[in-house]
Subunit: 874 residues, 2 copies
Amino acid sequence: MTKYVYMFSEGDASMRNLLGGKGANLAEMVGLGLPVPNGFIVTTEACNRYYSDQMTITPEIQDEIFSSLAEMEQLAGKVFGDPERPLLLSVRSGARASMPGMMDTVLNLGMNDAVADGLAKLTDNRRFVFDSYRRFIMMFSDVVMDISRSFYEQAFEQVKKERGVQTDLELDADDLELIVSKFKEIYLREKGESFPQDVKEQLILSVEAVFRSWNTERAVYYRQMHNIPARWGTAVNIQEMVYGNMGDTSGTGVAFSRNPATGENKLYGEYLMNAQGEDVVAGVRTPFTIDHLQEQMPEIYQQFADITQQLERHYGDMQDLEFTIENGKLYILQTRNGKRTATAALQIAVDLVAEGLTSREEALLSIDPKQLDALLHPTFDPNALEAATRIAKGLPASPGAATGQIAFTAEQATAAKEAKRPVILVREETSPEDIQGMNAAEGILTARGGMTSHAAVVARGMGKCCVSGCSEALINASNQTMTISGRVFGCDDFISLDGSTGIVYEGSIATVKAEMSSNFQTIMEWADEISDMTVRANADTPHDSQVARDLGAQGIGLTRTEHMFFEAERVFLFRQMIVARNEADRRKALAKIKPMQQEDFLGLFRVMDGLPVIIRLLDPPLHEFLPTAEGEIKELADELDITYERLQEIINELHELNPMLGHRGCRLAVSYPEIAEMQTEAIIGAALQAAAEGIVVKPEIMVPLICEVKELEFVNRTIKTTADRLIADSGQPLKYWVGTMIEIPRACLTADEVAEEADFFSFGTNDLTQMTYGLSRDDAGKILETYYQAGIFEVDPTAQLDRVGVGALMRTAVELGRKTKPELELGICGEHGGDPSSVEFCQILGLDYVSCSPYRVPIAKLAAAQSALRYPRK
Amino acid sequence: MTKYVYMFSEGDASMRNLLGGKGANLAEMVGLGLPVPNGFIVTTEACNRYYSDQMTITPEIQDEIFSSLAEMEQLAGKVFGDPERPLLLSVRSGARASMPGMMDTVLNLGMNDAVADGLAKLTDNRRFVFDSYRRFIMMFSDVVMDISRSFYEQAFEQVKKERGVQTDLELDADDLELIVSKFKEIYLREKGESFPQDVKEQLILSVEAVFRSWNTERAVYYRQMHNIPARWGTAVNIQEMVYGNMGDTSGTGVAFSRNPATGENKLYGEYLMNAQGEDVVAGVRTPFTIDHLQEQMPEIYQQFADITQQLERHYGDMQDLEFTIENGKLYILQTRNGKRTATAALQIAVDLVAEGLTSREEALLSIDPKQLDALLHPTFDPNALEAATRIAKGLPASPGAATGQIAFTAEQATAAKEAKRPVILVREETSPEDIQGMNAAEGILTARGGMTSHAAVVARGMGKCCVSGCSEALINASNQTMTISGRVFGCDDFISLDGSTGIVYEGSIATVKAEMSSNFQTIMEWADEISDMTVRANADTPHDSQVARDLGAQGIGLTRTEHMFFEAERVFLFRQMIVARNEADRRKALAKIKPMQQEDFLGLFRVMDGLPVIIRLLDPPLHEFLPTAEGEIKELADELDITYERLQEIINELHELNPMLGHRGCRLAVSYPEIAEMQTEAIIGAALQAAAEGIVVKPEIMVPLICEVKELEFVNRTIKTTADRLIADSGQPLKYWVGTMIEIPRACLTADEVAEEADFFSFGTNDLTQMTYGLSRDDAGKILETYYQAGIFEVDPTAQLDRVGVGALMRTAVELGRKTKPELELGICGEHGGDPSSVEFCQILGLDYVSCSPYRVPIAKLAAAQSALRYPRK
């Protein structure tokens, strides 16, 4: 029979999955002999049972709870509900992963009229008793019975006002007894029955309420933000109450073993005397800093500081503690690895290793890779942010903070940049045509599109702040207005974006620049030593490549050659190529484009001296390069010297219903082998040129969107003929590689065949995810919202690799590919390459590298190291 | 070591894959002791070697050829190239599947100047010798050396003119010798070298030419039409020449053991005296019918008729023979199962069984399921067709023949129908809005879209002729013109479509109606007895269901409920539902739609009394129901009583970049559970009503586009709550089933989970194929053309199931699904359900049924029976 309830003495820190983090640590501290009030834990599995049993706690589990309670009564020498020697309880949630403040707690449980009377006699402290009782009624009403707190708060304020006092401390025992009776009246009024006097009923109802709080809206949202699966559930910790509100030698507080903002190795925290924990959090009174305790109760302070150090040593990490002092005796109510800023995380990690308190491996594992983002991008000045007004929320598509006036077109943004005027580019959705404008803007806001929409992908590549899929923003580009909740914003209005949270603010907000510390460098070095995989960058220009290399990139995993075509001068040549209706004209236009591409590639090879560079052949459908608005079409027709009707005809011909599944990728190279030929000439030409300069070049040519090996065979013929001719002509030897993106399900399913023609596979998990799910990232915004609410999805699969479906296809591709060619180089260049959970899956799959946008390289490197530690190869 | 060359005596009919059909049958006839000139076969594997060896015949294979040739010389008592007793050869292609006239042949090989002289002495027949020599030079030049036949034909005509004669028979030996010398001059002029006198060189060059002819444009096209894979290759048959041109007791002909047009059991064929086989085909002279031979050479006729009967009995099928009479001696040069019309195929199958010449099983296997199409649709009057002018060619999207004036809009088509004026609806591409117009038109022509585009799918469902993806047609709907090769067609012009070939003709062409014979019924009954799978229909209306049931459907596999919404009255209500911005308004509109849907469903249940009916919940994205043209939007806004701007806003909001991967399928039921609720009410309501009428109802509710089991869980809750409520209210018991389309790769990969929530899976292979290939069927037209030309694709994967990629996913889904639920009902409702090869794969996978459009039901039934015979299930 499954055991659903554990005494603290039966558990330890390793049982976190079953007992929750709080419970496991309480059990561990009991084992260490620390002063922890005794108690027991109802497991996370009991929570899952609660839900699968139609939200009831079965009699068997209730029996287990009461038998553990009996054991606890023995230990405490008190009896639950007995007025003579009453045992009072705290009932607290505790999930596997820390979810601070997300779930519910009931304190002082076991109080009723008889117990209150008995306790008053026992403690000779009526004030304390009724203070505890009034707290209990309010918490129970709020948490368990869903009665609004405000009724109670009003009544409480009313009494304070009648007594003419400012703080709760000034109320005396009679006042509090009066409040208790008022509270009981409110309860009766709201629920139509008296406040429950049966303490066992109180207990079971409270345990159920904690289980329910696992699925409150805020908890679901938090879980989603932090990728915590619903099936983990929460445990419930039931513990003897200790009282910080027993008088002047009692108190309660929270503290960190080191400074969580800076990482400084110094106890950090605050406390309140004659109070319960909720008061510290609620800010009822202003707490003292922990230093003050040293003066007020030096012995207690020293005992606490010692325990803090002991726990830090024991866990090898900075601790976040809750404590209570009851009549001059210290109790520890909780310890956990403390949350910290990115700066602090690095400082603490480096210090702990230096102090010999932990290993490099453990230190690396203690840092949340996603946190590093904050170190790489500007953030809002926290003071300025406090005063800011939030107007909407979209998806946190690309981190950083940006402020500027609104630009509705790429042209406006470019003009503003020239005028040194900061702007936010606001678009329904962006297209490749907008790239210059995106580059000119401080940040990008789109109304549509998900975390891997065009705007999001390009912005991350640029290291530029972006909020995407902000559906509240109704954008009317022709009127130059954006309407949010009925308010209209125009070109003169300032807005600010937080790309790390997705929040949009009105007005201008000051920002703080990013800086890279020596701790950062240290951590990156440790990561490199441990990783099995290298980390490359997705970079399209020499500039982006330089940024990537500075951030530690070990090569380029993806160069999207089409991005080079969008500069004003080039796009014209490229459009000439598109409207050419025969091969000869196409070749003419391509010949003009080639030297420019070659120059770009040369730049990449120079920056990446000694490292591999993957360059992908032209990928997007050609219509993406042509305008859609009538005016622009007319203008372009003039420029191209063809009639408007002719150009419109060409645009119509190129139009596609589902461009994602259309004429793009290698399909272009099959239809127009001369494009692949020109690009190969540019790549190999640049490589030869670089090699002649003494640069070590490792060019890898990547063919996109393969669904069938014969496509690759066909394009390979063009590439190899061209490359081998150039190399032979040059008289220099040059090694190059040809491989393919694996981004279509069928490529995974036939990877054994595809591998015959490929030196490497690079998983294009953006498209692979979209096709495996049948879900377009550009259209997914509203669907995802609905799915989160309905509990169908917990995370966005285009942001975090789906291991079950997409992962199965990848695994098939890896196995089949390596079966054909054991030395096949395997990597990933989808957006997932910068997501820690996805990087971990790549480690499990046995990939050779991950590739991500430059600013995600450090995150990926740390994640790769952590994955290597968690899933060692061999 | 692989053996690449087989003597006839080493082979038999079972070795067709290796020896080709012609070779295997020649070998078989040798085994039967029939008069077959001796020879040997270069295998199909040698052909594949030829291509993999960079189009050369390796010395080893050449050695094998010459050693077989030596053996043949022994048998013939003649020597290749020896003027004293020369051996002359025919070199003929012969693939696994018959490809009449598609590949090349060289006759009279081994002739040179010396041999000609020797042979003239030996036969004392100079006329015959130079007739053979001139034939050889021309064939060799044409087939092997790629010199235009027209040079030779002109020279030949020139001599005839100079001699003042009409036919070749009137030329004498000197004339023919002159022609030979002129032919050698032409050869020298064109190739810059003399006609080769080395007979071994002649032979190897000719074998290579036959191998090459496997990949001529027409052969590739034929293979593609008949799903013959490139890797099959062709064999080469090298046989001693026998001569129909030796004089008046020599001749040559072709004959069928039964009439290939009607199936009548009577020898049918034609022959020419003093001629070689090519003359019969080329129509140089008018041949006699075979009956005439009975008078001319009664003994030979009787011998031939006996052999014909013997072979028919031996093969159990109607035979198509080639024969030659050399100086009064009969030789059989070829036998094969004869091609026949659909009518003849059924007649012959039924007769052969009645005559005890074959079994039902063999008879069923002898009919090409695709042929049945011709029996179910009108065709052009063959006489009228001869005079017709072909103007363009598209894809044969839906079979049948149609004639009418052009209608450019659905409205025009509807108006014409009312005026009893036949029209062809001509559209760039069709959308669900066009359905009424499609129904009103005689046929549909689209410029875009493939075999499974909207137009194609809907037309097949309606049993209406359709040619899709006719990219030569430039359609300008606003000008009301269609331009083909510079010629402009308008509303007054008649055009005609052949939906079975994809050909578009100008003008009006008389058609012939379809009729179903008793043979047809007999074959269908036999098929049903043998099949493991049932065949259901995809039918959306009671009318279509009735058609399907009449054609033998054993249930409905797919009702697309959205098609019911497109009728004028309903679409308005449906649009009201779409523009409703809150649940209450949506429910109001839905309440008005419900009785109509329920009435439709009731009609389906009545028609399908006793059979299962799968009804799919609403599938397409909502924007498909809204207009896109400004005028129509204004009109609709007025009707809906909202502003134009508001409607435009809603349309913009609903716009999607990739609607295929957008907000559709079960995603609609998650966003708007009230739609699923209404549809469930209508289905269950209708089922209860039908059951009350005494009808046996088997309603199966199908949820489309599942990618994750939780979606199905969510929608199931709505369906089951609603259905169970209605059933409980009715007081009648009613069994219903809930299942899902499997049409997204991820659903296959997680089918074990999905099966937990499903009573049945129906493979939606249209979408599954598109997503697995990353290829939208609506945009695939031009890509497929290019891919065929480049040899990358051989067939359209949306028309014939891809067993490697899509098939792997289906297999996974079947295995995982049945692992969870062994009794899971499995079927297919994609367009592949009516394609014989795909039906065969469904048999292999172990599916329970296939479902296809009504007019394909007979094809699917025959294919299912054939598959059961070929791949029996234990």
